[in-house]
């Protein structure tokens, strides 16, 4: 197997990481690694959107009371813009809906949550898992945008020790 070259154009790694957090793949597109960026965008946004579809577009939400989905919410921090509306919606005081967003990713009422859990049952959990896995995978994508592929970093740290010791 031929060894991989150990140079990847990372441009400004911090900007790339922030862009990758906002939208999966955007950091790579910014760096000119377009094919990888598109792969990440399609895979992660597709998984996230499919999870939302399975959960009837209500599985991604945030609340500050007992409805708070703690583990799911923490996992979804890996996705910036796709899960940001849920945070904005959690500050909504009335049922009018936010401008532009309407009720997208709005916090469901307790009765609505109970009804969704009872009706969708296992599918509700699967939907949440899809959105969580997409968000967690985006953390790997952010690291790749910030520091390049993991194997390159490993090779770079291994190389100095392989040099012959001075006599």
């Amino acid at each position: 197997m031929t060894p991989e070259p150990h140079s990847v154009p990372l441009k400004d790694p911090f900007t790339a990481a922030v862009l990758a957090w906002l939208v999966p793949g955007l950091g790579h597109i910014y760096q000119g690694r377009t094919a990888k960026g598109l792969l990440f965008f399609v895979c992660l946004m597709g998984t996230f959107a499919y999870g939302m579809y399975l959960g009837e577009w209500k599985v991604v939400y945030w609340a500050w009371d007992e409805r708070k989905p703690v583990i799911e919410g923490i996992c979804r921090l890996g996705m910036g813009l796709p899960s940001a509306p849920s945070i904005l919606q959690s500050f909504r005081k009335d049922d009018a809906g936010l401008p532009v967003l309407g009720h997208f990713q709005a916090t469901p009422s307790k009765a609505e949550l109970e009804e969704l859990n009872a009706r969708l049952s296992r599918t509700w959990s699967i939907a949440a898992i899809f959105t969580m896995i997409a968000s967690l995978l985006n953390i790997l994508v952010i690291l790749d945008a910030q520091g390049g592929p993991a194997e390159y970093a490993r090779a770079a740290t291994r190389e100095p020790s392989q040099e012959p010791a001075p006599a």
Partner: protein
């Protein structure tokens, strides 16, 4: 008996089918974050997907065996 169990598991409405897109996405994204060369990414992704599926099948078989005890 075993064939019946596997047939039930693989029926159209089985939740196990949701595993397939997840395995594909996880193996592709994981491999792409570790390598930059496309042939290597595809090869490692296929290998990882097979490993995950085999691991889950073995785990399922063990759990099924324990259930029978």
């Amino acid at each position: 008996m075993i064939a019946l169990h596997w047939a039930q598991m693989l029926r159209a409405e089985s939740p196990y089918w949701y595993l397939l897109p997840l395995v594909v996405v996880v193996s592709l994204v994981y491999s792409a974050t570790r390598h930059e060369e496309w042939p290597l990414i595809w090869r490692r992704a296929v290998r990882l997907a097979i490993f995950i599926l085999c691991f889950m099948a073995v785990t399922l078989a063990i759990l099924w065996g324990i259930q029978l005890l």
